[in-house]
């Protein structure tokens, strides 16, 4: 059971070769430990280091910073394979989202300090955006960073932060000019060993137990002034710039996960019988599978279009939002029907479909809810 590349249009031979490596590494390092990750609510450091060593982390970082300088399609390969495997290890957050902020907006000291170790997996990054009182509406955030001498002093709390327990560094979205709305937001790197920084409990979630998710507290946390990424009060613009890639990354996970749900249901219903014949042979099953296979065909074609467009620098914010919206909603449809086709086994956590179904629900919420995607797309009309 693996992703079929025969009809794909986004990848060349180099990517295919890389994919073979990724599959081997994940099969060896991650797959045997998924149950542990689920139980423990976190992916271990060893897996991060193994991924780093095999070149799975941050493949786009430029050679001058110790990276491989590859195109984003290599990230896509990792994200697809991880989602298809059913692991929600936070590698994509590191490679597809966090590292770009460090590489694009960090000063030399910041790049020097973090990029190499993010590639190796020695440093795990998180991005702290959402707060207990706000959802996807960034203008409502309350965390502040005050400039006092050569330092920023940060106060506030964040929630639903992926990699929150593991994180060695946190990119904090904070108000540096509380009166200026979206024009008063900056991004500041906080090292996890700074006094005043605290992690809350690893949150109890419906799914994605392997992705540690936390509240984070900042109580008079002091960091050097040049821990800021880019210019003061420009954070909102940087976030907007990076959002398309983040949303595309979620769309990729969604599509690969949907394919896995489909494959699970096909395999299951071939074996399992009801009323004397394999479930897959009932016409209703055939029709449901036909519907799902159709959605997957359409989805892969669209995803490759979006990946190619992103790599050509043409993917707009509205297009990326549409991709996130469509692929996450489609994943929910596919996962729900795939579970239903399992019958009673479908709600047993021991079957991959049950975990997948729980895991996928949040894709319609994180990275901006479907409703926020619609607001973004709606504005482009």
């Amino acid at each position: 059971m693996m992703l079929d590349m025969a009809t794909r249009t986004a990848f060349n031979e180099d990517h295919h070769t890389f994919r073979e490596t990724v599959r081997k590494v994940l099969e060896r390092e991650v797959q045997p430990r998924i149950e542990d990750h689920e139980r423990d609510g976190i992916v271990g450091r060893d897996e991060w280091l193994a991924a780093g060593e095999a070149g799975l982390l941050c493949p786009t970082v430029a050679e001058e910073y110790g990276g491989l300088g590859l195109d984003f399609r290599f990230n896509c390969v990792v994200t697809e394979e991880l989602a298809y495997l059913g692991s929600w290890a936070g590698f994509p957050l590191q490679s597809d989202i966090a590292v770009d902020y460090i590489e694009h907006y960090g000063n030399d000291r910041i790049r020097e300090a973090f990029l190499g170790k993010m590639i190796s997996g020695e440093i795990i990054a998180a991005i702290a955006m959402t707060e207990p009182g706000t959802g996807s509406d960034l203008q409502g955030i309350q965390t502040t960073a005050k400039r006092i001498g050569d330092e920023w002093v940060i106060n506030g709390s964040k929630t639903y932060i992926t990699n929150g327990q593991n994180a060695d560094i946190v990119i904090v979205v904070a108000k540096t000019n509380p009166d200026a709305g979206s024009k008063g937001i900056s991004l500041i790197v906080v090292e996890a060993d700074r006094p005043g920084f605290d992690r809350g409990r690893n949150l109890d979630k419906i799914g994605q137990h392997s992705a540690d998710t936390s509240e984070l507290f900042f109580n008079d946390v002091h960091v050097p002034a040049d821990n800021i990424l880019g210019a003061e009060n420009q954070g909102f613009a940087y976030l907007m710039d990076q959002l398309p890639q983040e949303r595309l990354s979620i769309a990729i996970s969604a599509q690969a996960s949907a394919q896995r749900a489909f494959d699970e249901a096909v395999n299951f219903t071939r074996e399992r019988k009801a009323f004397g014949k394999p479930i897959i042979e009932f016409q209703n099953s055939q029709f449901q599978f036909a519907d799902l296979k159709t959605k997957l065909q359409v989805g892969w074609a669209h995803l490759d279009w979006a990946i190619n467009r992103h790599c050509e620098g043409k993917l707009t914010a509205a297009e990326a939002s549409a991709a996130k919206l469509w692929h996450s909603e489609t994943l929910s449809d596919v996962a729900d029907m795939a579970l239903q086709l399992h019958g009673g086994a479908g709600y047993m956590n021991e079957y991959p479909i049950a975990q997948l179904w729980r895991d996928q629900r949040v894709l319609r919420i994180y990275g901006g809810t479907s409703e926020v995607m619609k607001i973004v797309i709606g504005r482009s009309i």
């Binding site: 019988k273 209703n284 047993m348 049950a354 919420i365």
Partner: protein
Amino acid sequence: MASDRAVEIAERVEQFVRTVVVPYEQDPRCGSHGPSDDLVHEMRGHARSAGVLTPHILSDGRHLSHRDTALVLRKTGLSPLGSVACNTFAPDEGNMYLLGKVGSEEIKQRFLSPLVEGRSRSAFFMTEPASDGGAGSDPSMMKTTAVLDGNHWRVNGRKAFITGADGADIGIIMAASDDGACMFMVDLPNPAIKIERILDTIDSSMPGGHAVVSITDLRIPADQMLGASGEGFRYAQVRLAPARLTHCMRWLGTCERAQEIAEDYAVSRQAFGKLLVDHEGVGFMLAENKIALEQCRLTIDWCADVLDQGELGLLESSMAKVAVSEALFKVADRCVQVMGGSGVSGDTIVEQAFRELRAFRIYDGPTEVHKWSIAKKIKRKALERRAVSEEKS
């Protein structure tokens, strides 16, 4: 219309669930296989004091009408723990109904009374593992056997998805004798009945969870047969439609509560400068839920009326089960979505409602099996109509 008596009972139940049971929802004894027996006993003690234990069965042993039961069970369902606390949950509620209908006086005395008093828990051993080629949702394929051996029956077989088997005091076991299907009453635990494993499932409201059970040379005294040999399917049908419907009742209550929580969230939280509820994207979801909840209530009451007329109600309960389980799942899903990040967290019962309703679309017959049987009934009726019209012409 529900009777005045039922309205009065329902009010007391609602008061109890909201004030006493709801605070237990964050209790650590609520595990992934349902609330612990310790927690169950504690809540039952409160229910007994408040006079809302087993509220759908009157002191003389009679049950409320199905229509009245609908109102009362909706209220016990206002918390996923409420039905357990009030002793209206599955499978005990259905088992009590069955024993009341077909049990002899001795059986009622010995097995029904402790259930009604909330002192015992029971399990219904019907479904068999589909992987063994046994009776999944199809009881005519029963593989568990019962052989008469002197004045005892010897029972052998395997059962799956047995809700509440772990920790149950009383079992109703279905097995096939030469006469056909039979039902037996047994005390639990019994060394011949082995719980192979408790399934780890996405729902988590039912004490004891769902178990796979093997039965090996279980000896049951002949007088512990429920009713007559070979009548087991008929008895199962007595239980079938009402038990389907009480699931609908309880989960309707739970989703009504989820909707309240989502509504409260939507009027207390701002996004982009206005209350969430003032965003049409949110308000319309809540409006759809309101409509769907009303339609679920109407559908349940309709089916309850059919049962109250003494019908078996197999078609109507199939229709109600499909309509209510599918609609309530969508309601729960929209509640999750309205609440965003907190919707997928354990902070409120919304995420549990979402998981529970997902499972309900499968147990007691998946939607597809019900549609299949409804379609067969449509076919039969349309063919009859055709025959009549051909005769006329």
